[in-house]
Amino acid sequence: MGMKKYVRNSTFHLFFLPLALLWSYPFLWMISSAFKTKQEMLMNGTRLIPKVLTLDNLQRAWVNAKFETYFFNTVIVTVSVVLLVILISATSGYALARGNMPGKKIIVIALVVTMFLPKGVTIIPVFELINALGLNNTYFAVILAEAGPAHIVAILLFMGYFANIPNELEESAIIDGAKFLTVFSKIMLPLAKPVLGTVAIFNFIGAWNAFFVPLIFTLTRPELRTLGVGMYSFFGEYSIDWTGFAAGALISVGPIIVVFLFFQRYFIEGLSGAVKG
Protein backbone atom coordinates (compact mmCIF):
# COMPACT_ATOMS: atom_id res chain seq x y z
CA MET A 1 0.00 0.00 0.00
CA GLY A 2 2.70 2.46 1.03
CA MET A 3 4.81 1.53 -1.99
CA LYS A 4 1.87 1.94 -4.34
CA LYS A 5 1.13 5.35 -2.91
CA TYR A 6 4.77 6.34 -3.30
CA VAL A 7 4.87 5.29 -6.96
CA ARG A 8 1.61 7.08 -7.73
CA ASN A 9 2.90 10.25 -6.11
CA SER A 10 6.18 10.21 -8.00
CA THR A 11 4.63 9.55 -11.43
CA PHE A 12 2.36 12.48 -10.72
CA HIS A 13 5.28 14.76 -9.92
CA LEU A 14 7.24 13.47 -12.89
CA PHE A 15 4.45 14.71 -15.10
CA PHE A 16 3.43 17.84 -13.23
CA LEU A 17 6.76 19.31 -12.13
CA PRO A 18 7.81 20.25 -15.69
CA LEU A 19 4.35 21.68 -16.24
CA ALA A 20 4.66 23.71 -13.05
CA LEU A 21 8.01 25.07 -14.21
CA LEU A 22 6.56 26.03 -17.58
CA TRP A 23 3.59 27.59 -15.80
CA SER A 24 5.84 29.75 -13.63
CA TYR A 25 8.18 30.61 -16.50
CA PRO A 26 7.08 34.27 -16.85
CA PHE A 27 7.92 34.79 -13.16
CA LEU A 28 11.23 32.94 -13.40
CA TRP A 29 12.10 35.02 -16.48
CA MET A 30 11.19 38.23 -14.63
CA ILE A 31 13.34 37.41 -11.59
CA SER A 32 16.35 36.19 -13.56
CA SER A 33 16.27 39.05 -16.10
CA ALA A 34 16.05 41.64 -13.36
CA PHE A 35 19.53 40.56 -12.18
CA LYS A 36 21.06 39.91 -15.62
CA THR A 37 23.47 42.20 -17.41
CA LYS A 38 22.25 43.79 -20.63
CA GLN A 39 24.94 41.93 -22.57
CA GLU A 40 23.89 38.55 -21.27
CA MET A 41 20.27 39.37 -22.07
CA LEU A 42 21.29 39.95 -25.69
CA MET A 43 23.50 36.89 -25.94
CA ASN A 44 21.48 34.41 -23.95
CA GLY A 45 17.96 35.59 -23.19
CA THR A 46 16.49 32.17 -22.43
CA ARG A 47 19.07 31.19 -19.76
CA LEU A 48 17.36 31.24 -16.38
CA ILE A 49 20.38 31.45 -14.07
CA PRO A 50 22.47 34.55 -14.87
CA LYS A 51 26.25 34.07 -15.16
CA VAL A 52 26.88 37.48 -13.63
CA LEU A 53 24.49 39.01 -11.12
CA THR A 54 23.97 42.77 -11.24
CA LEU A 55 21.89 45.29 -9.33
CA ASP A 56 22.22 47.88 -12.12
CA ASN A 57 18.76 47.16 -13.51
CA LEU A 58 17.01 47.59 -10.20
CA GLN A 59 18.89 50.81 -9.58
CA ARG A 60 18.16 52.12 -13.07
CA ALA A 61 14.47 51.34 -12.70
CA TRP A 62 14.22 52.71 -9.15
CA VAL A 63 16.07 55.98 -9.77
CA ASN A 64 16.19 56.85 -13.49
CA ALA A 65 12.87 55.37 -14.54
CA LYS A 66 11.10 56.89 -11.49
CA PHE A 67 9.89 53.59 -10.05
CA GLU A 68 10.58 55.08 -6.64
CA THR A 69 7.83 57.63 -7.28
CA TYR A 70 5.51 55.03 -8.79
CA PHE A 71 6.10 52.75 -5.82
CA PHE A 72 5.18 55.36 -3.22
CA ASN A 73 2.20 56.53 -5.27
CA THR A 74 0.95 52.95 -5.33
CA VAL A 75 1.47 52.56 -1.57
CA ILE A 76 -0.41 55.80 -0.84
CA VAL A 77 -3.30 54.91 -3.14
CA THR A 78 -3.54 51.28 -2.01
CA VAL A 79 -3.41 51.99 1.73
CA SER A 80 -5.97 54.80 1.38
CA VAL A 81 -8.33 52.61 -0.64
CA VAL A 82 -8.10 49.78 1.90
CA LEU A 83 -8.71 52.10 4.87
CA LEU A 84 -11.56 53.91 3.15
CA VAL A 85 -13.32 50.72 2.09
CA ILE A 86 -12.94 49.20 5.56
CA LEU A 87 -14.20 52.33 7.31
CA ILE A 88 -17.21 52.70 5.06
CA SER A 89 -18.21 49.08 4.78
CA ALA A 90 -17.66 48.23 8.45
CA THR A 91 -19.75 51.17 9.71
CA SER A 92 -22.58 50.75 7.22
CA GLY A 93 -22.52 46.96 7.50
CA TYR A 94 -22.86 47.32 11.27
CA ALA A 95 -25.72 49.82 11.07
CA LEU A 96 -27.58 47.64 8.60
CA ALA A 97 -27.03 44.44 10.60
CA ARG A 98 -27.99 45.60 14.09
CA GLY A 99 -31.27 47.17 15.12
CA ASN A 100 -34.11 48.00 12.78
CA MET A 101 -33.63 51.46 11.36
CA PRO A 102 -36.40 52.69 9.06
CA GLY A 103 -35.28 52.49 5.42
CA LYS A 104 -32.95 49.57 6.05
CA LYS A 105 -34.73 47.24 3.63
CA ILE A 106 -34.61 49.71 0.75
CA ILE A 107 -30.89 50.28 1.21
CA VAL A 108 -30.10 46.57 1.28
CA ILE A 109 -32.21 45.90 -1.83
CA ALA A 110 -30.53 48.76 -3.71
CA LEU A 111 -27.11 47.40 -2.82
CA VAL A 112 -27.92 43.84 -3.88
CA VAL A 113 -29.51 44.90 -7.17
CA THR A 114 -26.58 47.10 -8.24
CA MET A 115 -24.11 44.36 -7.35
CA PHE A 116 -25.31 42.46 -10.41
CA LEU A 117 -25.19 45.44 -12.75
CA PRO A 118 -22.26 45.30 -15.14
CA LYS A 119 -19.36 47.53 -14.15
CA GLY A 120 -16.73 49.11 -16.33
CA VAL A 121 -19.15 50.70 -18.76
CA THR A 122 -19.70 53.50 -16.30
CA ILE A 123 -16.23 55.03 -16.24
CA ILE A 124 -17.16 58.16 -18.24
CA PRO A 125 -19.64 59.55 -15.68
CA VAL A 126 -17.14 58.75 -12.91
CA PHE A 127 -14.46 60.64 -14.81
CA GLU A 128 -16.79 63.62 -15.25
CA LEU A 129 -17.79 63.51 -11.59
CA ILE A 130 -14.16 63.59 -10.44
CA ASN A 131 -13.53 66.49 -12.82
CA ALA A 132 -16.56 68.34 -11.51
CA LEU A 133 -15.31 67.89 -7.95
CA GLY A 134 -12.02 69.43 -9.13
CA LEU A 135 -10.10 66.33 -8.13
CA ASN A 136 -8.74 65.16 -11.46
CA ASN A 137 -4.98 64.66 -11.46
CA THR A 138 -4.77 64.28 -7.68
CA TYR A 139 -4.32 61.24 -5.47
CA PHE A 140 -7.94 61.65 -4.38
CA ALA A 141 -9.16 61.01 -7.93
CA VAL A 142 -7.63 57.56 -8.11
CA ILE A 143 -8.48 56.73 -4.48
CA LEU A 144 -12.13 57.76 -4.77
CA ALA A 145 -12.67 56.17 -8.18
CA GLU A 146 -11.17 52.92 -6.86
CA ALA A 147 -12.82 52.86 -3.44
CA GLY A 148 -16.16 54.44 -4.42
CA PRO A 149 -17.69 51.54 -6.30
CA ALA A 150 -15.72 48.75 -4.62
CA HIS A 151 -17.50 48.49 -1.33
CA ILE A 152 -20.79 46.68 -1.99
CA VAL A 153 -19.48 43.15 -1.50
CA ALA A 154 -17.55 44.34 1.56
CA ILE A 155 -20.70 45.85 3.11
CA LEU A 156 -22.62 42.63 2.60
CA LEU A 157 -19.76 40.65 4.16
CA PHE A 158 -19.67 42.86 7.26
CA MET A 159 -23.47 42.88 7.44
CA GLY A 160 -23.66 39.11 7.37
CA TYR A 161 -21.01 38.79 10.04
CA PHE A 162 -22.38 41.41 12.43
CA ALA A 163 -25.91 40.03 12.06
CA ASN A 164 -24.75 36.67 13.43
CA ILE A 165 -23.22 38.07 16.62
CA PRO A 166 -25.57 37.30 19.54
CA ASN A 167 -27.58 40.23 20.96
CA GLU A 168 -26.58 39.53 24.56
CA LEU A 169 -23.10 40.90 24.03
CA GLU A 170 -24.40 44.24 22.87
CA GLU A 171 -27.11 44.39 25.53
CA SER A 172 -24.78 43.68 28.41
CA ALA A 173 -22.41 46.36 27.18
CA ILE A 174 -25.24 48.90 26.94
CA ILE A 175 -26.35 48.06 30.48
CA ASP A 176 -22.76 48.72 31.51
CA GLY A 177 -23.22 52.19 30.03
CA ALA A 178 -21.32 51.83 26.78
CA LYS A 179 -22.37 54.09 23.92
CA PHE A 180 -23.09 53.08 20.32
CA LEU A 181 -19.61 54.11 19.18
CA THR A 182 -17.88 52.29 22.02
CA VAL A 183 -19.84 49.11 21.43
CA PHE A 184 -18.90 49.25 17.77
CA SER A 185 -15.21 50.03 18.12
CA LYS A 186 -14.38 48.13 21.33
CA ILE A 187 -16.59 45.05 21.07
CA MET A 188 -18.01 44.48 17.60
CA LEU A 189 -15.18 45.49 15.29
CA PRO A 190 -12.53 43.39 17.08
CA LEU A 191 -14.89 40.40 16.77
CA ALA A 192 -15.08 40.90 13.00
CA LYS A 193 -11.37 40.23 12.40
CA PRO A 194 -11.91 37.50 9.78
CA VAL A 195 -14.06 39.83 7.65
CA LEU A 196 -11.60 42.68 8.20
CA GLY A 197 -8.83 40.42 6.90
CA THR A 198 -10.78 39.33 3.85
CA VAL A 199 -11.90 42.86 2.92
CA ALA A 200 -8.39 44.26 3.49
CA ILE A 201 -6.55 41.67 1.40
CA PHE A 202 -9.04 41.77 -1.50
CA ASN A 203 -8.95 45.53 -1.72
CA PHE A 204 -5.20 45.66 -1.23
CA ILE A 205 -4.61 43.35 -4.18
CA GLY A 206 -7.30 45.04 -6.26
CA ALA A 207 -5.96 48.55 -5.68
CA TRP A 208 -2.30 47.58 -6.06
CA ASN A 209 -3.01 45.90 -9.40
CA ALA A 210 -5.42 48.53 -10.73
CA PHE A 211 -4.63 49.85 -14.18
CA PHE A 212 -7.66 51.27 -16.00
CA VAL A 213 -8.63 53.84 -13.35
CA PRO A 214 -5.10 55.14 -12.53
CA LEU A 215 -4.32 55.24 -16.27
CA ILE A 216 -7.28 57.49 -16.98
CA PHE A 217 -6.80 59.75 -13.98
CA THR A 218 -3.08 60.33 -14.43
CA LEU A 219 -3.01 60.92 -18.20
CA THR A 220 -1.66 64.46 -17.84
CA ARG A 221 0.23 64.01 -14.55
CA PRO A 222 3.04 61.43 -14.97
CA GLU A 223 4.29 62.08 -11.43
CA LEU A 224 1.08 60.57 -10.02
CA ARG A 225 1.37 57.29 -11.91
CA THR A 226 1.04 54.03 -10.05
CA LEU A 227 3.29 51.03 -10.78
CA GLY A 228 1.05 49.45 -13.42
CA VAL A 229 0.70 52.70 -15.35
CA GLY A 230 4.40 53.42 -14.84
CA MET A 231 5.31 50.06 -16.37
CA TYR A 232 3.01 50.78 -19.31
CA SER A 233 4.68 54.09 -20.09
CA PHE A 234 8.16 52.68 -19.43
CA PHE A 235 7.50 49.94 -21.98
CA GLY A 236 6.25 52.53 -24.46
CA GLU A 237 9.39 54.65 -24.07
CA TYR A 238 12.17 52.09 -23.58
CA SER A 239 10.76 48.98 -25.23
CA ILE A 240 14.26 47.57 -25.84
CA ASP A 241 15.48 47.77 -22.23
CA TRP A 242 14.28 44.30 -21.26
CA THR A 243 16.41 43.95 -18.13
CA GLY A 244 15.25 47.35 -16.87
CA PHE A 245 11.69 46.28 -17.62
CA ALA A 246 12.11 43.04 -15.67
CA ALA A 247 13.51 45.02 -12.73
CA GLY A 248 10.52 47.36 -12.81
CA ALA A 249 8.17 44.36 -12.97
CA LEU A 250 9.89 42.79 -9.97
CA ILE A 251 9.53 46.03 -7.98
CA SER A 252 5.84 46.13 -8.91
CA VAL A 253 4.91 42.49 -8.43
CA GLY A 254 7.26 41.47 -5.59
CA PRO A 255 5.49 43.31 -2.75
CA ILE A 256 2.05 42.03 -3.66
CA ILE A 257 3.29 38.44 -3.74
CA VAL A 258 4.85 38.86 -0.29
CA VAL A 259 1.65 40.41 1.09
CA PHE A 260 -0.34 37.58 -0.42
CA LEU A 261 1.89 34.90 1.12
CA PHE A 262 1.19 36.34 4.57
CA PHE A 263 -2.56 36.75 4.15
CA GLN A 264 -3.41 34.00 1.70
CA ARG A 265 -5.70 32.27 4.20
CA TYR A 266 -8.06 35.27 4.23
CA PHE A 267 -7.94 35.51 0.46
CA ILE A 268 -8.68 31.84 -0.18
CA GLU A 269 -11.43 31.82 2.45
CA GLY A 270 -12.99 34.92 0.93
CA LEU A 271 -13.08 33.33 -2.52
CA SER A 272 -14.46 30.07 -1.13
CA GLY A 273 -17.16 31.99 0.73
CA ALA A 274 -18.25 33.60 -2.54
CA VAL A 275 -19.51 30.32 -3.95
CA LYS A 276 -20.55 28.54 -0.77
CA GLY A 277 -22.84 31.49 0.07
Binding site: R8, N9, F12, F16, A20, W23, S24, P26, F27, W29, M30, L42, G45, T46, I88, S92, A95, L96, M101, P102, I107, A110, T114, L117, P118, G120, V121, T122, I123, I124, P125, V126, E128, L129, A145, A147, G148, P149, I152, I155, L181, F184, I205, N209, F211, F212, L215, L219, G228, M231, Y232, F235, A249, V253, I257, F260, F267, S272, V275, K276
Partner: protein, 308 residues
Protein backbone atom coordinates in the same frame (compact mmCIF):
# COMPACT_ATOMS: atom_id res chain seq x y z
CA UNK B 1 -54.01 57.95 13.13
CA UNK B 2 -51.63 59.26 10.50
CA UNK B 3 -50.01 61.70 12.89
CA UNK B 4 -49.55 58.89 15.38
CA UNK B 5 -47.76 56.86 12.70
CA UNK B 6 -45.57 59.75 11.68
CA UNK B 7 -44.59 60.59 15.22
CA UNK B 8 -43.86 56.91 15.84
CA UNK B 9 -41.68 56.85 12.76
CA UNK B 10 -39.91 60.05 13.81
CA UNK B 11 -39.30 58.55 17.23
CA UNK B 12 -37.93 55.42 15.62
CA UNK B 13 -35.66 57.45 13.36
CA UNK B 14 -34.40 59.43 16.34
CA UNK B 15 -33.71 56.20 18.17
CA UNK B 16 -31.52 55.08 15.28
CA UNK B 17 -29.66 58.38 14.96
CA UNK B 18 -26.30 56.65 15.15
CA UNK B 19 -27.31 54.06 12.60
CA UNK B 20 -27.95 56.84 10.09
CA UNK B 21 -24.60 58.45 10.83
CA UNK B 22 -23.00 55.09 10.19
CA UNK B 23 -24.64 54.47 6.81
CA UNK B 24 -24.43 58.01 5.46
CA UNK B 25 -20.81 57.98 4.20
CA UNK B 26 -21.55 54.74 2.38
CA UNK B 27 -24.77 56.14 0.93
CA UNK B 28 -22.98 59.24 -0.38
CA UNK B 29 -20.37 57.12 -2.16
CA UNK B 30 -23.04 54.72 -3.39
CA UNK B 31 -25.06 57.53 -4.97
CA UNK B 32 -21.98 59.18 -6.50
CA UNK B 33 -20.07 56.14 -7.77
CA UNK B 34 -22.74 53.53 -8.43
CA UNK B 35 -26.16 55.10 -8.98
CA UNK B 36 -25.06 58.25 -10.82
CA UNK B 37 -22.68 56.49 -13.24
CA UNK B 38 -25.43 54.09 -14.32
CA UNK B 39 -27.88 56.93 -14.96
CA UNK B 40 -25.19 59.24 -16.30
CA UNK B 41 -23.95 56.87 -18.97
CA UNK B 42 -27.52 56.58 -20.30
CA UNK B 43 -27.97 60.36 -20.18
CA UNK B 44 -24.67 61.14 -21.94
CA UNK B 45 -25.43 58.73 -24.75
CA UNK B 46 -28.13 61.11 -26.05
CA UNK B 47 -25.63 63.93 -26.60
CA UNK B 48 -22.94 64.82 -29.06
CA UNK B 49 -20.29 65.82 -26.58
CA UNK B 50 -16.50 66.06 -26.48
CA UNK B 51 -16.28 66.04 -22.69
CA UNK B 52 -15.65 69.74 -22.14
CA UNK B 53 -18.25 71.72 -20.23
CA UNK B 54 -21.72 70.21 -19.90
CA UNK B 55 -23.45 68.17 -22.62
CA UNK B 56 -25.72 70.56 -24.58
CA UNK B 57 -25.95 69.20 -28.09
CA UNK B 58 -28.89 66.78 -27.75
CA UNK B 59 -28.93 64.37 -30.69
CA UNK B 60 -31.58 61.86 -29.63
CA UNK B 61 -30.77 58.35 -30.75
CA UNK B 62 -28.12 59.40 -33.30
CA UNK B 63 -25.25 57.85 -31.34
CA UNK B 64 -27.09 54.56 -31.11
CA UNK B 65 -27.96 54.62 -34.83
CA UNK B 66 -24.34 55.29 -35.73
CA UNK B 67 -22.99 52.60 -33.44
CA UNK B 68 -25.45 49.95 -34.58
CA UNK B 69 -24.10 50.17 -38.15
CA UNK B 70 -20.44 50.59 -37.17
CA UNK B 71 -18.63 47.40 -38.20
CA UNK B 72 -15.77 48.22 -35.79
CA UNK B 73 -18.19 48.26 -32.88
CA UNK B 74 -19.63 44.86 -33.77
CA UNK B 75 -16.12 43.54 -34.31
CA UNK B 76 -15.21 44.58 -30.77
CA UNK B 77 -18.55 43.31 -29.47
CA UNK B 78 -18.11 39.85 -31.03
CA UNK B 79 -14.46 39.63 -29.93
CA UNK B 80 -15.56 40.47 -26.40
CA UNK B 81 -18.05 37.61 -26.30
CA UNK B 82 -15.62 35.18 -27.98
CA UNK B 83 -13.17 36.13 -25.23
CA UNK B 84 -15.71 35.61 -22.43
CA UNK B 85 -17.25 32.38 -23.74
CA UNK B 86 -13.80 30.86 -24.30
CA UNK B 87 -13.24 31.21 -20.57
CA UNK B 88 -16.50 29.43 -19.88
CA UNK B 89 -15.67 26.64 -22.33
CA UNK B 90 -12.01 26.13 -21.33
CA UNK B 91 -11.25 27.66 -17.93
CA UNK B 92 -14.42 26.38 -16.25
CA UNK B 93 -13.94 22.61 -16.97
CA UNK B 94 -10.12 22.73 -16.85
CA UNK B 95 -10.23 24.24 -13.38
CA UNK B 96 -12.58 21.44 -12.27
CA UNK B 97 -10.12 18.79 -13.48
CA UNK B 98 -7.26 20.53 -11.65
CA UNK B 99 -9.40 20.83 -8.52
CA UNK B 100 -10.24 17.11 -8.52
CA UNK B 101 -6.53 16.28 -8.87
CA UNK B 102 -5.44 18.71 -6.17
CA UNK B 103 -8.25 17.72 -3.81
CA UNK B 104 -6.59 14.33 -3.30
CA UNK B 105 -5.25 14.48 0.26
CA UNK B 106 -2.74 11.69 -0.44
CA UNK B 107 -0.93 13.91 -2.90
CA UNK B 108 2.23 15.44 -1.48
CA UNK B 109 3.06 19.04 -2.32
CA UNK B 110 -0.44 19.89 -3.50
CA UNK B 111 -0.33 23.21 -1.64
CA UNK B 112 2.76 24.18 -3.63
CA UNK B 113 0.99 23.41 -6.90
CA UNK B 114 -2.04 25.35 -5.76
CA UNK B 115 0.14 28.32 -4.87
CA UNK B 116 1.89 28.24 -8.26
CA UNK B 117 -1.42 28.08 -10.11
CA UNK B 118 -2.56 31.01 -8.01
CA UNK B 119 0.52 33.18 -8.55
CA UNK B 120 -0.68 34.84 -11.80
CA UNK B 121 -4.01 35.71 -10.13
CA UNK B 122 -2.45 38.17 -7.71
CA UNK B 123 -0.09 39.67 -10.31
CA UNK B 124 -0.91 42.98 -11.98
CA UNK B 125 -2.74 42.16 -15.22
CA UNK B 126 -1.23 45.14 -17.04
CA UNK B 127 2.28 43.94 -16.25
CA UNK B 128 1.46 40.43 -17.43
CA UNK B 129 0.31 41.88 -20.75
CA UNK B 130 3.62 43.74 -21.12
CA UNK B 131 5.76 40.76 -20.05
CA UNK B 132 4.15 38.60 -22.72
CA UNK B 133 5.02 41.26 -25.28
CA UNK B 134 8.63 40.44 -24.53
CA UNK B 135 8.25 36.67 -24.04
CA UNK B 136 6.46 36.35 -27.38
CA UNK B 137 8.63 38.87 -29.24
CA UNK B 138 9.15 37.52 -32.79
CA UNK B 139 12.86 38.44 -32.96
CA UNK B 140 14.31 37.48 -29.58
CA UNK B 141 11.39 36.61 -27.30
CA UNK B 142 12.46 33.77 -24.96
CA UNK B 143 9.28 31.73 -25.53
CA UNK B 144 9.71 31.95 -29.29
CA UNK B 145 13.41 31.10 -29.00
CA UNK B 146 12.73 28.15 -26.74
CA UNK B 147 10.04 26.73 -29.02
CA UNK B 148 12.42 26.94 -31.98
CA UNK B 149 15.21 25.36 -29.91
CA UNK B 150 13.01 22.40 -28.99
CA UNK B 151 11.82 22.15 -32.63
CA UNK B 152 8.25 22.95 -31.66
CA UNK B 153 8.35 25.73 -34.22
CA UNK B 154 10.33 26.00 -37.43
CA UNK B 155 10.73 29.74 -37.16
CA UNK B 156 9.52 32.28 -34.58
CA UNK B 157 5.87 33.30 -34.84
CA UNK B 158 4.62 36.83 -34.35
CA UNK B 159 1.77 35.79 -32.06
CA UNK B 160 0.68 39.30 -31.15
CA UNK B 161 1.19 40.76 -34.61
CA UNK B 162 -0.95 38.21 -36.40
CA UNK B 163 -4.61 38.91 -37.11
CA UNK B 164 -5.60 35.28 -36.70
CA UNK B 165 -3.45 34.49 -33.65
CA UNK B 166 -3.72 37.56 -31.45
CA UNK B 167 -7.15 36.86 -29.91
CA UNK B 168 -6.48 33.15 -29.19
CA UNK B 169 -3.13 34.14 -27.66
CA UNK B 170 -4.83 36.73 -25.45
CA UNK B 171 -7.39 34.12 -24.38
CA UNK B 172 -4.69 31.59 -23.44
CA UNK B 173 -2.79 34.21 -21.41
CA UNK B 174 -5.99 35.32 -19.70
CA UNK B 175 -6.90 31.74 -18.76
CA UNK B 176 -3.38 31.21 -17.42
CA UNK B 177 -3.84 34.36 -15.35
CA UNK B 178 -7.34 33.66 -14.01
CA UNK B 179 -7.79 29.91 -13.72
CA UNK B 180 -6.53 29.98 -10.11
CA UNK B 181 -9.70 31.75 -9.01
CA UNK B 182 -11.99 29.19 -10.64
CA UNK B 183 -9.82 26.45 -9.11
CA UNK B 184 -10.39 27.83 -5.61
CA UNK B 185 -14.14 27.97 -6.30
CA UNK B 186 -14.18 24.32 -7.38
CA UNK B 187 -12.05 23.25 -4.40
CA UNK B 188 -14.56 24.99 -2.13
CA UNK B 189 -17.31 23.13 -3.95
CA UNK B 190 -15.58 19.77 -3.53
CA UNK B 191 -15.27 20.40 0.17
CA UNK B 192 -19.05 20.68 0.52
CA UNK B 193 -19.49 17.03 -0.51
CA UNK B 194 -19.83 14.93 2.65
CA UNK B 195 -16.92 12.52 3.02
CA UNK B 196 -19.33 9.76 4.16
CA UNK B 197 -20.65 9.51 0.61
CA UNK B 198 -17.22 8.60 -0.70
CA UNK B 199 -16.73 6.08 2.09
CA UNK B 200 -20.08 4.47 1.31
CA UNK B 201 -19.17 4.31 -2.38
CA UNK B 202 -15.86 2.67 -1.56
CA UNK B 203 -17.49 0.07 0.66
CA UNK B 204 -19.95 -0.67 -2.15
CA UNK B 205 -16.98 -1.22 -4.44
CA UNK B 206 -17.56 1.72 -6.79
CA UNK B 207 -14.62 2.57 -9.06
CA UNK B 208 -13.07 6.06 -8.89
CA UNK B 209 -14.54 6.89 -12.31
CA UNK B 210 -18.01 5.82 -11.20
CA UNK B 211 -17.63 7.79 -7.97
CA UNK B 212 -16.69 10.83 -10.04
CA UNK B 213 -19.68 10.62 -12.37
CA UNK B 214 -22.30 9.45 -9.87
CA UNK B 215 -21.31 11.38 -6.76
CA UNK B 216 -18.85 14.21 -7.35
CA UNK B 217 -20.19 15.79 -10.52
CA UNK B 218 -23.95 15.59 -9.77
CA UNK B 219 -23.37 17.08 -6.32
CA UNK B 220 -21.31 19.90 -7.82
CA UNK B 221 -24.03 21.07 -10.22
CA UNK B 222 -25.69 23.69 -7.96
CA UNK B 223 -22.41 25.30 -6.91
CA UNK B 224 -21.12 24.84 -10.46
CA UNK B 225 -23.86 27.07 -11.81
CA UNK B 226 -22.66 29.87 -9.55
CA UNK B 227 -19.05 29.26 -10.64
CA UNK B 228 -20.11 29.33 -14.27
CA UNK B 229 -21.74 32.71 -13.82
CA UNK B 230 -18.76 34.12 -11.92
CA UNK B 231 -16.32 32.86 -14.57
CA UNK B 232 -18.39 34.44 -17.31
CA UNK B 233 -18.89 37.80 -15.58
CA UNK B 234 -15.25 38.15 -14.55
CA UNK B 235 -14.01 37.69 -18.13
CA UNK B 236 -16.20 40.38 -19.70
CA UNK B 237 -13.84 43.31 -19.15
CA UNK B 238 -10.36 42.39 -20.39
CA UNK B 239 -9.25 46.03 -20.82
CA UNK B 240 -6.02 45.78 -18.78
CA UNK B 241 -4.78 42.72 -20.65
CA UNK B 242 -5.80 43.75 -24.16
CA UNK B 243 -4.55 47.33 -23.86
CA UNK B 244 -1.11 46.22 -22.67
CA UNK B 245 -0.87 43.16 -24.92
CA UNK B 246 -1.99 44.51 -28.28
CA UNK B 247 -4.03 47.73 -27.82
CA UNK B 248 -6.80 45.91 -29.67
CA UNK B 249 -4.66 45.37 -32.77
CA UNK B 250 -3.40 44.39 -35.21
CA UNK B 251 -6.14 45.74 -37.48
CA UNK B 252 -8.63 45.60 -34.53
CA UNK B 253 -8.29 41.80 -34.44
CA UNK B 254 -8.25 41.82 -30.61
CA UNK B 255 -10.42 44.89 -30.08
CA UNK B 256 -13.01 44.55 -27.27
CA UNK B 257 -15.75 46.91 -26.11
CA UNK B 258 -13.65 48.45 -23.33
CA UNK B 259 -10.75 49.27 -25.66
CA UNK B 260 -13.24 50.60 -28.23
CA UNK B 261 -14.80 52.88 -25.60
CA UNK B 262 -11.37 53.93 -24.35
CA UNK B 263 -10.31 54.96 -27.85
CA UNK B 264 -13.28 57.29 -28.26
CA UNK B 265 -13.35 58.72 -24.74
CA UNK B 266 -9.80 58.82 -23.37
CA UNK B 267 -7.22 58.18 -26.09
CA UNK B 268 -4.64 60.97 -25.62
CA UNK B 269 -3.83 60.86 -29.35
CA UNK B 270 -7.39 61.67 -30.37
CA UNK B 271 -8.14 65.35 -31.02
CA UNK B 272 -11.92 65.28 -30.63
CA UNK B 273 -13.18 62.97 -27.94
CA UNK B 274 -16.67 61.49 -28.31
CA UNK B 275 -18.12 60.92 -24.85
CA UNK B 276 -21.73 60.50 -25.92
CA UNK B 277 -20.85 58.00 -28.63
CA UNK B 278 -18.56 56.03 -26.30
CA UNK B 279 -21.26 55.98 -23.60
CA UNK B 280 -23.75 54.54 -26.08
CA UNK B 281 -21.27 51.80 -26.99
CA UNK B 282 -20.73 50.88 -23.35
CA UNK B 283 -24.44 51.02 -22.65
CA UNK B 284 -25.47 48.61 -25.45
CA UNK B 285 -22.87 46.10 -24.32
CA UNK B 286 -23.93 46.45 -20.68
CA UNK B 287 -27.56 45.76 -21.59
CA UNK B 288 -26.65 42.56 -23.43
CA UNK B 289 -24.55 41.39 -20.49
CA UNK B 290 -27.45 41.99 -18.11
CA UNK B 291 -29.86 40.15 -20.40
CA UNK B 292 -27.56 37.12 -20.58
CA UNK B 293 -27.13 37.14 -16.80
CA UNK B 294 -30.88 37.35 -16.22
CA UNK B 295 -31.73 34.70 -18.82
CA UNK B 296 -29.19 32.15 -17.69
CA UNK B 297 -29.70 32.54 -13.94
CA UNK B 298 -33.11 30.81 -13.64
CA UNK B 299 -32.22 28.25 -16.31
CA UNK B 300 -29.09 27.20 -14.51
CA UNK B 301 -30.86 27.16 -11.15
CA UNK B 302 -33.52 24.85 -12.59
CA UNK B 303 -30.88 22.57 -14.05
CA UNK B 304 -29.18 22.47 -10.66
CA UNK B 305 -32.41 21.45 -8.92
CA UNK B 306 -33.23 18.86 -11.54
CA UNK B 307 -29.85 17.17 -11.32
CA UNK B 308 -29.65 16.90 -7.55
Amino acid sequence: MNTVNTSLLLKNIKKHKWHYWFVSPMLVLFLLFTVWPILGSVYYSFFKWDGSGVPENYVGLDNFREILIDPYYWNAFVNNYIFAFSHVLIQFPLALILAIILNNTLLKGRNVYRLLIFLPVITTTAIIGLIFNILLHPAAGPLNEAMVKFSLLESPINFLGSVSLVLPTAIVISIWKNIGVTLIYWLAGLQTIPIELYEAARIDGASPVKTLFYITIPLLVPIGSVILLLTFISSLHPFDLIQTLSKGGPLFASDVVDTYVYRYAFNPELTTLRYGFASAGGFIFGVTVMLITIIQAPFIRKLGKYRT
